[in-house]
C-alpha cells in the first residue's frame, strides 16, 4: 500500500527520472533510519563473509561438553551436541544470505536462499504483473485469476506438499518463497504498470512501434524500480522469517550446515534445559529482519521526500 503510494508520488512529476545508482546510495545515507537498518544488515553480511573463511571452531563438530553456558572458550555457549554456538550462528548466515547449495551437494552458488527466493518472486511477479497491467483485458483477467488462486492457496500446505514431493533442499525452499511471494509482487507491479502506462513517454514509445516487451521492461520497469526495491527489502525479511518458521516446523533447509531455522528446530527439544541455542538464532533472525525493515522504511521515506 505504502509502496504503491510511493509509486504514485514518484510519478506525479511526470518526468522521466532514472535515478542513478550513486543517487540511490546517497539517499540511504540521508536517512538516519535507513543508515541504522543498513548497518544491521551489513553486520550480518560481514559475519557471514567472515564465516566463509574463519569460524572460532568447526561448526559441525562436537568438541565440547553439551549445553554449556557462555564462557571464555565458547562465547555463546554450546548446544546439545557439544558444538560451539558462535561458530554455528556465524555459519548460519551463509545459507540464508550468502550461498545456495545446489542439488547433489557438491557445489553452491553465491547468494543465499532468502535472496534467490525473493529474486525469483520478483522475476515471476514482475513478468506477470507488467503483462497484466500493461496489456489489460483478458490477459489481465486470467493472470489475476491465477494470482488470486495462488494468494488464497494455503501457504503452509504448499511448502509441506512441495517438500514431500521434492524432498528437503535449498532449491525447494527457494521455490516455495518464489511461489508465495510472486502474487504480491505481481499485484504491486500491476498497479504500477496501470499507473505508468498512462504517461506520455509510453505513448511516444507506442507510436515508435516498440514491442510490448520493450515497453514493459525498458520503459515501465525502470520507473517502477523504487517501490519494487523497497518491497523486495521487506520480502527478504519475510523470507528469512519463513525460513525460520519452516525450520521450526522441521521442514526447512536440510542439515548438516546450520541455518538459523534448523538451529532452532534442533534446539527446540532442549528448550527446557538450555534456552540459549534457541535465543541466539532467534535474535539473529529478529535483528536482521528489523534491519531490513528499517532500511526499507528509511529508503521509502527518502524516496518520497526526494521525489517531492
Amino acid at each position: 500500500m505504502n509502496a504503491e503510494a510511493a509509486a504514485n508520488e514518484e510519478n506525479k512529476s511526470e518526468k522521466r527520472t532514472k535515478p542513478s545508482l550513486w543517487k540511490t546510495i546517497s539517499i540511504i545515507f540521508e536517512s538516519r533510519v535507513a543508515t541504522i537498518g543498513m548497518v544491521m544488515v551489513a553486520f550480518w553480511v560481514i559475519v557471514g563473509c567472515i564465516s566463509l573463511v574463519w569460524t572460532p571452531y568447526d561448526p559441525n563438530s562436537s568438541d565440547f561438553i553439551q549445553n554449556l553456558s557462555p564462557n571464555a572458550t565458547n562465547w555463546l555457549g554450546t548446544d546439545h551436541m557439544g558444538r560451539d554456538l558462535l561458530s554455528r550462528l556465524m555459519q548460519g548466515t551463509q545459507v540464508i544470505l550468502l550461498k545456495t547449495r545446489l542439488p547433489g551437494g557438491e557445489h553452491s552458488i553465491p547468494g543465499g536462499v532468502a535472496i534467490w527466493g525473493v529474486l525469483g518472486s520478483l522475476f515471476l511477479g514482475v513478468i506477470l504483473g507488467l503483462n497484466a497491467g500493461y496489456r489489460r483485458g483478458w490477459t489481465d483477467q486470467i493472470i489475476m485469476q491465477v494470482l488470486d488462486a495462488l494468494i488464497a492457496f494455503p501457504q503452509i500446505v504448499l511448502y509441506l506438499v512441495v517438500i514431500a514431493a521434492l524432498g528437503q533442499g535449498d532449491m525447494v525452499v527457494i521455490l516455495a518463497i518464489t511461489i508465495t511471494g510472486a502474487p504480491g509482487v505481481a499485484r504491486l507491479a500491476r498497479s504500477l504498470a496501470l499507473d505508468i502506462q498512462t504517461r506520455d513517454y509510453i505513448r511516444a514509445a507506442e507510436t515508435r512501434a516498440e514491442s510490448a516487451w520493450f515497453i514493459m521492461f525498458r520503459e515501465i520497469l525502470p520507473n517502477a524500480r523504487g517501490p519494487l526495491l523497497v518491497d523486495s527489502m521487506l520480502r527478504v525479511g519475510y523470507a528469512i522469517f519463513m525460513i525460520g518458521t519452516l525450520g521450526f516446523l522441521g521442514i526447512g533447509l536440510p542439515p548438516p550446515d546450520p541455518d538459523w531455522g534448523s538451529m532452532v528446530n534442533e534446539a527446540r527439544k532442549y528448550i527446557f534445559v538450555n534456552q540459549l541455542p534457541v535465543i541466539w538464532p532467534a535474535l539473529a533472525i529478529s535483528t536482521l529482519v528489523i534491519g531490513l525493515n528499517l532500511f526499507a522504511d528509511g529508503l521509502r521515506e527518502e524516496l518520497m521526500r526526494y521525489q517531492k
Binding site: 500500500m1 505504502n2 503510494a5 485469476q145 491465477v146 488470486d148 488462486a149 494468494i151 488464497a152 492457496f153 494455503p154 501457504q155 503452509i156 500446505v157 504448499l158 509441506l160 506438499v161 512441495v162 514431500a164 514431493a165 525479511g237 522469517f241 525460520g244 518458521t245 521450526f248 516446523l249 532452532v264 527446540r268 528448550i271 527446557f272 534456552q275 534457541v278 535465543i279 532467534a282 533472525i285 529478529s286 535483528t287 529482519v289 528489523i290 525493515n293 528499517l294
Partner: protein
C-alpha cells in the same frame, strides 16, 4: 453492484477449482504410499494392494478427482441390484451407505466363501443372514454380486472365478479366488456437500473439520478483538506524535515484536508463565470438546503469542497511515484555519487514516493463518492450522482439500469485505 457480486462469485468458483486441482496434482506427486502409512511398514504387499483398492486408489487420476468433486454413487448405482441409500449412524452420527432390500437397509460380507447379508437393526448394528440367493451368473463358472460392505464401499463380490487355487479348509475344499474384487468408495462429492473421507482418521472429513474450524475461529477471533483496539490505539498515538519520544518507543517496540518469530515468543511465554511461574496453563488441553469455553484461561498464552506478532504489524501500518494523513494538505489547512487540534484528529484524520489499515488487515488474513499454524502446533491447539499441517504431512487428500477450501473461502470472503469496505469508504474508487 449486482455485476460486481456476480463477478466475485464466478471468480470465487474458478479460484476454488484452480486451488483444488493444484492441490490434487501436488498431493498426487508428493505423497507416498498411503497404505503403508495406515497399515504400517510390517504389512504385506497383498494387504497394501487390497487396502489401496478399498480406498479406490487404483482408479485413474482424473477419475479420482471427479469422484471427489461430483461423487460416484451414480456410477455404483448402475451396477447394483438394489438401490443405494444413506443413513446416519445413531452413535457417531456419521453418514453410512446401505442398500435398500425391500425396505430393509442391508450390507454384505463374505465369510468362509459364503455371501452373507448384514441387515441393519434399530441400534445401527446388523444381524447376519444368508445371502446365497443374491449371486448373479457371470461368465463361465463365475458368479458375482455388487453390494455394499461395512466400510461404505460398493463392492463386487466374486465366487468361482480366476485363480484355480484350492485350499483345504476345515469346512472342505474352497477356492481361494473368492471374495471382494472391485471397490468403489462411495461418496456424494464436494458439490453435493460431501467432503469425503479422511484417510488419516478413517472418518468423514466434515465431522473432524467442523470443531477445528470453530476452535480456530475462536482463537483468531479473540486475538482479533484483543489486537485491533490496541494496535489502532498505539498506531494513532504514535502517528500524531511523529518523531517524538513516544513515537520512537512505540515504533521500536512494535518493530521488535513483529520481527520476533511466533515460535520464539510462544516458547518463551510457555516457559515463563506456564512452567516457571505456573500462573497460566502451559498448553491448551482439550479435556472436552468445549474446553476453551469451560476454561478460557487456556487461550491466554496462544492469544498473547498471536498478539505479539500482529499487534506490531497493524500498529506500524496505522502509524504510517496516520502520519500520511496528518501530513496531508486538508488536515494542515484545517489546523491552520484554527480548528481545534483534537477535533481535527478525531473527526477527520482518524477516519481517513483507518482506511488503509483496515484493507491491509483483510488482505493479511492468509498470513495470519500461517501464524496460526505455528501457534497451534506449539500449544497443541486442535484447530484448522494444525489440522492442515498434520494432513499435509500424512498426505491425507480429502482432508487437505477440504481444509484448503475453508481457508480459500476465508481468504476470499475477507478480501471481498475489504474491497467492499474500501469501495464504500473511498468515493474515488467507487466510480472508477
Amino acid at each position: 453492484m449486482v455485476r460486481f457480486l456476480v463477478r466475485s462469485v464466478v471468480s470465487t468458483i474458478i479460484t476454488i477449482l484452480l486451488v483444488s486441482i493444484g492441490l490434487f496434482v501436488l498431493i498426487e506427486v508428493g505423497s507416498g504410499d498411503i497404505s503403508v502409512k495406515i497399515l504400517g511398514v510390517f504389512s504385506t504387499p497383498e494387504q497394501r494392494a487390497s487396502y489401496r483398492a478399498q480406498l479406490g486408489l487404483n482408479a485413474p487420476t482424473w477419475q479420482r478427482y471427479l469422484d471427489w468433486l461430483v461423487g460416484n454413487d451414480w456410477r455404483a448405482k448402475s451396477r447394483m441390484t438394489y438401490p443405494l441409500i444413506t443413513l446416519k449412524n445413531p452413535k457417531t452420527k456419521e453418514v453410512e451407505w446401505w442398500a435398500d432390500v425391500d425396505g430393509q437397509a442391508t450390507r454384505w460380507k463374505m465369510d468362509k466363501g459364503e455371501l452373507k447379508r448384514l441387515v441393519r437393526k434399530e441400534d445401527g448394528f446388523s444381524k447376519v443372514m444368508p445371502a446365497e440367493s443374491d449371486w448373479i451368473k457371470g461368465e463361465g463358472t463365475e458368479e458375482f454380486f455388487w453390494g455394499v460392505d461395512n466400510r461404505n464401499n460398493a463392492v463386487k463380490f466374486v465366487k468361482g472365478s480366476g485363480e484355480e487355487v484350492w485350499v483345504l479348509t476345515k469346512a472342505g475344499l474352497r477356492k481361494q479366488g473368492d471374495g471382494p474384487r472391485e471397490y468403489i468408495p462411495l461418496r456424494k462429492g464436494l458439490i453435493r456437500g460431501d467432503a469425503g473421507l479422511s484417510w488419516q482418521y478413517n472418518r468423514p472429513v466434515s465431522m473432524i473439520l467442523k470443531p477445528r474450524v470453530r476452535n480456530t475461529l475462536v482463537l483468531a477471533g479473540v486475538a482479533f478483538v484483543v489486537v485491533m483496539p490496541l494496535a489502532l490505539f498505539f498506531g494513532i498515538l504514535a502517528g500524531i506524535n511523529e518523531g517524538k519520544l513516544l513515537d520512537r518507543i512505540i515504533s521500536i517496540t512494535s518493530l521488535g515484536a513483529t520481527s520476533t518469530p511466533e515460535f520464539v515468543t510462544g516458547i518463551f511465554l510457555i516457559l515463563i508463565f506456564g512452567i516457571w511461574l505456573k500462573v497460566l496453563p502451559a498448553v491448551t488441553m482439550f479435556t472436552s470438546s468445549n474446553a476453551i469455553f469451560e476454561n478460557p484461561m487456556m487461550l491466554a498464552l496462544p492469544v498473547m503469542t498471536l498478539t505479539a506478532v500482529e499487534l506490531g504489524y497493524v500498529a506500524r501500518m496505522t502509524r504510517a497511515s496516520m502520519v500520511e494523513v496528518m501530513d496531508s494538505a486538508y488536515i494542515r489547512t484545517a489546523i491552520v484555519k484554527g480548528m481545534p487540534y483534537w477535533r481535527v484528529v478525531f473527526r477527520h484524520a482518524i477516519r481517513n487514516a483507518l482506511m488503509a489499515p483496515i484493507t491491509i488487515i483483510m488482505l493479511h488474513v492468509n498470513w495470519l493463518i500461517g501464524g496460526v499454524v505455528v501457534v497451534e502446533v506449539i500449544f497443541g491447539y486442535p484447530g484448522l492450522g494444525k489440522f492442515i499441517f498434520d494432513s499435509a504431512i500424512f498426505g491425507d487428500f480429502s482432508a487437505i482439500e477440504a481444509a484448503a477450501m475453508v481457508t480459500v473461502l476465508i481468504a476470499i470472503i475477507t478480501r471481498l469485505i475489504g474491497d467492499l469496505a474500501y469501495t464504500l469508504l473511498n468515493p474515488r474508487v467507487r466510480y472508477a
